[in-house]
């Protein structure tokens, strides 16, 4: 009877959870139903976790004497882990979201790897397939864990420069081969029953050590600008690791949920890489973002700085404005001020829209979230493919804290590192205003010809401060008229 409960209840609960996860993710394909979608998935998670405790009735005989301690430990671990992550997740700033996702993702990879570690410690005669699947999941989970931590460090700017040296790819491949070699040796020992040169525990420790180091080494040379793609890859990797460990534990909920995320993460990675016009292998193995060795074709012309108030008044009397926000806006926390300014323009009858580049911010879609946080309704927000054709018929393109995503060199200059990336055609608008902290290069470290174009004016200053000045200017105008 008890065995029946330990099979029936978790089995039914996992099935329900799998349905809720898939349906919840489906609901997330529209901003309207998305909040309900994540809540459904959350309910699924809650049900699955509660049901997992019914396994107490079906633990293996050897674990029975430890059951009480194990239950308490599991409960404490859930409360501690969930409590800390929940608290942190509730109070973290929206701009720091990519780092946070990286950390949570690393935790998932770590959980998969530690499950594999326990399985390996107690590995008996469950068969070669399961052993190999366990080891594969372990490598992927461990790489995802250490790689995500490096990704976090880079996004949080704990680690500022990508670390590169000659022959790095060779060293990384060597590291991976060692990891696979240790895993193969472990399989050999278990299969043949020969005595290992070290204790089994030591071999397992070396195996995980190698996998963790490989994750670090693989992520170190990748520049900060590419981190979104990297997090997305690790997100898919963690999903895969979870699915593989699910197979080992014979748990279909882990297998389905993990594989869904594995596929979704892979698709998202490809979409992102496509938006940057780079292949995934190019992101992982090339040294993009390094100080380019070749000289760029010198850009002719000078930058023309203007006052914020002049720019504001010009836009007030324009017919149409497209705002192109970038990460610089988020850094200065100017989203709310910007929207206040936009509201003034809208009230004055100007047609204002936001154009979002797929890789604006440090994560695909992060800019959408930041604008939503400031209260910008999402029907004013347009994606690159929906709005790019409208620039030639638009009076003003207002570039605010963005740089690489509006660099015309991406269309024309084959020697430029950003060549081929789809850009927002701000240079095709009749006039262009660029709000920028100072004369400098973008995240990718490339000069931008747009800033020197004859129809471009530069407004130097902190994005939030400039927006405040522009609000003043337009309000002053209204007051003068009245």
């Amino acid at each position: 009877m008890l065995t029946l409960i330990s099979q029936l209840i978790p089995g039914a609960a996992y099935l329900l959870a799998a349905i809720l996860f898939m349906y919840g993710l489906k609901q997330m394909s529209s901003p309207v139903s998305a909040p309900a979608g994540i809540r459904l998935a959350g309910v699924g998670m809650l049900i699955a976790v509660l049901a997992s405790f019914f396994n107490v009735f079906g633990v293996k005989a050897a674990a029975k004497p430890h059951l009480m301690v194990n239950i308490i430990l599991a409960g404490v671990a859930i409360l501690l882990g969930a409590g800390a992550a929940w608290w942190k997740g509730r109070q973290v700033k929206m701009t720091a979201m990519p780092q946070m996702v990286a950390i949570y993702n690393g935790m998932g990879g770590g959980a998969a790897a530690t499950i594999a570690a326990v399985e390996l410690l107690g590995f008996g005669s469950e068969g070669m397939t399961r052993l190999i699947v366990t080891l594969t999941g372990a490598v992927i989970g461990a790489v995802s864990l250490s790689g995500s931590i490096i990704a976090w460090a880079k996004l949080d700017e704990v680690m500022k420069k990508p670390l590169r040296f000659k022959g790095q790819n060779l060293v990384n491949i060597f590291m991976l081969l060692i990891t696979v070699g240790v895993a193969a040796y472990f399989v050999y020992i278990v299969a043949s029953g020969t005595a290992p040169i070290l204790s089994l525990h030591a071999i397992i420790a070396i195996f995980f050590g190698c996998a963790l180091v490989f994750g670090v080494m693989m992520t170190l040379p990748i520049g900060g600008a590419d981190m979104p793609v990297v997090i997305s890859i690790y997100n898919a990797a963690t999903g895969l690791a979870v699915a593989l460990e699910g197979y080992v534990l014979q748990n279909p909920a882990l297998m389905i949920a993990g594989m869904v995320v594995g596929a979704a993460g892979t698709l998202l990675t490809l979409l992102m890489a496509k938006a940057m016009n780079r292949s995934v292998s190019n992101v992982l193995f090339s040294d993009f973002g390094a100080e380019s060795k070749h000289k760029h074709s010198a850009i002719k012309g000078t930058e023309r700085p203007v006052e914020a108030s002049d720019a504001a008044i010009f836009m007030r009397y324009a017919k149409s404005v497209i705002v192109i926000p970038g990460y610089g806006l988020a850094v200065s926390q100017g989203q709310e001020k910007l929207y206040e300014f936009v509201k003034l323009l809208l009230a004055a009858g100007v047609k204002v829209r936001f154009a979002i580049h797929p890789v604006a911010g440090r994560m695909p879609g992060q800019m959408d979230v930041l604008l939503a946080e400031a209260g910008v309704p999402y029907d004013l927000i347009f994606q690159l493919s929906d709005i790019n054709d409208d620039f030639p018929t638009t009076d003003v393109a207002l570039v605010i804290g963005a740089n690489d995503v509006v660099n015309p060199a991406a269309r024309t200059d084959k020697s430029s590192p950003v060549y081929g990336m789809p850009i927002l055609d701000a240079d095709k608008a009749r006039h262009c205003y660029v709000i920028k902290r100072g004369q400098g290069k973008g995240y990718a470290g490339v000069e931008n010809a747009l800033f020197y174009a004859p129809n471009t004016n530069m407004v130097y200053g902190d994005a939030a401060a400039v927006c405040a000045e522009m609000i003043e200017a337009v309000r002053g105008l209204g007051a003068a008229a009245a």
Binding site: S30, S52, L73, A74, A77, M107, T114, N235, V260, G365
Partner: protein
């Protein structure tokens, strides 16, 4: 009647294939505006690993397994709870403007359809 089952060999591969295809199709429809919540949401979904971790923890037979199992549950629970917290926060921010702006692209109209479908 018994409810135990074994997923072995090809059955496992079938399950992976179907789930993978399902994930691919489901995510393929998500507009770019939701990519960050989606990444974070799928990050939350693989937090299901906590269920496996609890299973391993309950079946631990010695202090080493208990210690590692404890970490597995800790990390898995963090993944699930944190992933949910940030995704929910992000999604709560999306709102539409009151004035019915005339965007008649296909993507927008599909959003409106979904709005009707959800009913709230």
């Amino acid at each position: 009647m018994h409810f135990s089952f074994a997923i072995s060999g090809f059955v496992g591969l079938y399950l992976f294939m179907l789930a993978g295809f399902g994930g691919w199709v489901i995510i393929g429809n998500v507009p770019a505006i939701l990519h960050t919540p989606l990444m974070s949401g799928s990050n939350f979904v693989h937090g299901i690993v906590v269920v496996g971790a609890v299973f391993v923890m309950l079946n631990a037979t010695n202090p080493a397994e208990q210690a590692i199992g404890f970490f597995a549950v800790l990390l898995g629970a963090g993944n699930a709870a944190g992933g949910y917290a940030v995704t929910d926060r992000m999604l709560a921010m999306f709102q539409t403007s009151g004035h019915a702006a005339a965007h008649k692209t296909a993507k927008r109209s599909s959003i409106k359809k979904a709005a009707k479908g959800s009913g709230s």
